[in-house]
């Protein structure tokens, strides 16, 4: 019996993405404080405290640096992205998994955090800036998800992987993934 092709809901994706973001942010905070401690000890310019404290503080910072480098976070982001890209969308010839992920995000109305965007990038995924929360996105790419052309049709802006969408569906309106071509795909 085939397994049901169930996908996480928008709410489940956002919850998991949120936990991955918080996990990374917590780790980054720890690294920042460790770096501050090391700098402070080094800048004391007093022999005895430095002798006692520099080496352990340097080791602490290096330990955190070694553990980080996204390596502990990419696998979980990768599994979540792969899950929604493969189970949440129908494959269209020529589309990459990143494109399918962007399509799912767009159609579900999910906006990822900047941290999650960066972790995904380290895992090999390209998430368009228009699928990143506006207060988190790259300011250079902040032009809004789409504008209207002279005919009143929305044109995606800053959505490189979504470029096939000449007429993107409204945010979060949901895109049919079966029974034909998804809404918004450019006709051949």
């Amino acid at each position: 019996m085939p397994l049901p092709q169930n996908t996480v809901t928008k709410e489940e994706f956002e919850a998991l993405m949120g936990y991955i973001t918080l996990e990374k942010q917590g780790f980054d905070d720890a690294k920042g404080y460790a770096n501050s401690g090391l700098q402070y000890v080094v800048l004391m310019q007093r022999v005895t405290p430095e002798v006692d404290l520099v080496t352990p503080h340097a080791a602490q910072y290096l330990n955190l640096e070694t553990v980080d480098n996204y390596s502990n976070f990419t696998a979980i982001a990768n599994s979540l992205n792969t899950h929604v890209a493969t189970r949440g969308t129908t494959a269209i010839p020529g589309e990459t998994l990143s494109t399918r992920l962007n399509r799912w995000l767009w159609c579900q109305g999910v906006r990822v955090t900047r941290v999650y965007h960066d972790i995904s990038a380290a895992a090999g995924w390209t998430i368009d800036w228009c699928n990143v929360r506006s207060d988190d996105a790259d300011p250079d790419s902040q032009m809004g998800p789409y504008v209207l052309d002279e005919d009143g049709n929305p044109i995606a802006i800053g959505c490189t992987a979504l470029s096939p969408y000449k007429n993107p569906p409204p945010l979060g309106s949901g895109c049919p993934t079966s029974g034909g071509t998804p809404i918004g795909t450019k006709s051949p």
Binding site: Y19, L22, E23, Y40, P49, L53, N72
Partner: protein, 125 residues
């Protein structure tokens, strides 16, 4: 207050314990978020969710558990506690009490995990 030669000043000690406590807090939050994410996947009633994600989330949890939060901060924290003991000639609780200094709750947790229990009177409310 007599200040033994080579001992950190009170301000220096307070700043360093604050940084260590805050760093530990970040690692604790990291671990809590990770465990919550794992629970969300584990308790999902959706078969595909578990098949696709359980292994990665569990592996991530195992990796993080191998460098349990306090172990990453252990050397630096121990160096600070031992500095106070060795250079100041006082046990950490006496050192704090004599100066009426109170460490952060997170630093106290970190120290306790390393065998240096800090008395409640010496911990911030």
């Amino acid at each position: 207050m007599y200040q033994p030669s080579g001992l950190l000043t009170d301000q220096e000690f307070m700043l360093l314990q604050g940084l260590l406590g805050s760093g530990y807090d970040g690692l604790v939050r990291c671990q809590e978020s990770l465990e919550t994410g794992l629970l969300v996947v584990t308790y999902s009633s959706n078969v595909s969710v578990e098949i696709d994600m359980l292994y990665a989330f569990e592996a991530n949890a195992n990796e993080v558990n191998t460098f349990l939060a306090k172990d990453l901060m252990a050397k630096a924290t121990l160096s600070l506690l031992r500095h106070v003991e060795n250079r100041g000639g006082q046990e950490i609780n006496d050192y704090l009490y004599a100066r009426q200094m109170k460490v952060t709750r997170r630093f106290a947790e970190l120290s306790s995990g390393l065998g240096y229990a800090i008395e409640p009177d010496n911990i911030e409310a």
